[in-house]
Amino acid sequence: MSDKFKVTIDGIPVEVDPGTTILNAARQIGGDIVPPAMCYYSKLQGSGGKCRTCLVKVSKGSEKDPRPMPKLVASCRTTVMDGMEVQNITSPEVIEARKGVVEMLLINHPLDCPICDQAGECDLQNLGFEHGAAKTRYEFDRRTFHKIDIGDKIQLHMTRCILCYRCVFTADQITDHRIHGILNRGDHSEISTYIQAAVDNDFSGNVIDVCPVGALTDKTFRFRNRVWFTKPVEAHRDCDHPGCNGKVTLWYKGEDVLRVTARKDVYGEVEEFICNTCRFDKKKTSDWVIEGPRKVSNQSVISANHYETMHPLPVVKTNPVLQEANKEQFERETRL
């Protein structure tokens, strides 16, 4: 008997190691059948199981016990069994449940996307667009909080928080001490530092990247520009901080670096965490070695109105190596 489990997700078979969750098995296949996740974060131990957006239907438990599971299960927390058959987008029950989950998540989430800096790269916005209903049935006042400045670089908008706990796990696992957490319970739960203490740690800026909504935002980027008007460029620098390898995405507007973030993969999860020096203090092109424009999906709003093929980025114009590499494009540009 092989030590791999054979699982079928939406009719696509895949062989995974025992102990893999259904979500990760689906991510090995990739594509449309991957359940969306708001709270699960592959780089953080113990995350997941809170938002319920990754619900799937298990139509066959395993080879030995082929009965289906009685309820929909959270795929980020359920491990696979040999011969398991899972339905995600092929099951109308799952689609219906997910629509309900989105509605629940949006009950207290303010619809202030035109103001929010996260708009355009917000997981909840994407989720609502793909799975949600166009209207809300909620008639009562949404809960509101005042904005809190956590330190001078990070701003907390508790109103937008969906209580995914990602930032709490990040502070626990990436930084050496955590001073913020979730206070109260039920509908009153909120992320806070209890007494307004500054989250001050070399890796505290990563809570901005892991936040799936606009609850934790970069104060240095606050209202500076919309995400889709900036141009993402991959860059790196020799960071002397142990634990940070300095691989980042720079978000350019013209010649200026407006924002530095960690590189995110297709699921919106960072590839490697970066330190606060890289994130907040290095905002000059001369600090970085530019690798090239970031590949952005055609469907993303970030790729709208970008014509990299016609006009090379302004940073390229000052770098002789990149200028040589983009010679053909420059010629085309001047001819036009």
């Binding site: 996307c113 035109p114 103001i115 209202f223 520009n225 919309r226 889709w228 008007f229 709208a304 109105n305």
Partner: protein, 166 residues
């Protein structure tokens, strides 16, 4: 060759008679037509700057940035108009509302600078459609002519609606 359209007229060019050669009948006939138009027909033109024709209901003219019922600016500088603009005529810079400015701006973010290049604008109305705050409408007049290119970049001074109490 036979005509395809049967619209060909055969022109007889006879030499003119003496009466015709004075050109008086043709002159009188022409004057009669002129006088008829001058005296009895209604003008087809209007005296434009003073007098204006009514626009059709879906006419799209100059943009205006609207205020809400309390006179606060609706625009929150979300950038969707600039994103949807096929001519890339719209630019803006956002700013955060300070405490005490609640009667000026409706949301916590507002457009500190909002510029439309009227030479680039094609008056397609996509910005109007994209706006989530019902802040921009192309309900104005025809954009007036000017001499310099820089004068066609309209800022908030020309675009924002007049305050309520004026």
């Amino acid at each position: 060759m036979e005509s395809l359209s049967n619209k060909r007229k055969v022109i007889e060019s006879k030499p003119l008679s003496l009466w015709e050669r004075t050109y008086l009948p043709a002159v009188v006939k022409g004057l009669a037509i002129t006088l008829k138009h001058f005296l009895f027909r209604k003008d087809v033109t209007v005296r434009y700057p003073e007098q204006k024709r009514e626009f059709s209901e879906n006419f799209r003219g100059m943009h205006s940035l609207k205020r809400d019922d309390e006179g606060r600016e609706r625009c929150t500088a979300c950038g969707l108009c600039a994103l949807s603009c096929p001519a890339e005529a719209i630019t803006m810079i956002a700013a955060e509302r300070k405490p005490g400015e609640e009667n000026l701006y409706r949301e916590e973010k507002y457009a500190a600078v909002y510029e439309i290049n009227m030479l680039r604008c094609i008056f397609c109305g996509l910005c109007e459609e994209a706006c989530p705050k019902e802040a921009i409408y192309l309900d104005g007049d025809i954009v007036p002519a000017d001499y310099l290119r820089k004068d066609f970049i309209y800022g908030k001074d020309k675009l924002v609606e007049a305050p309520l109490n004026q």
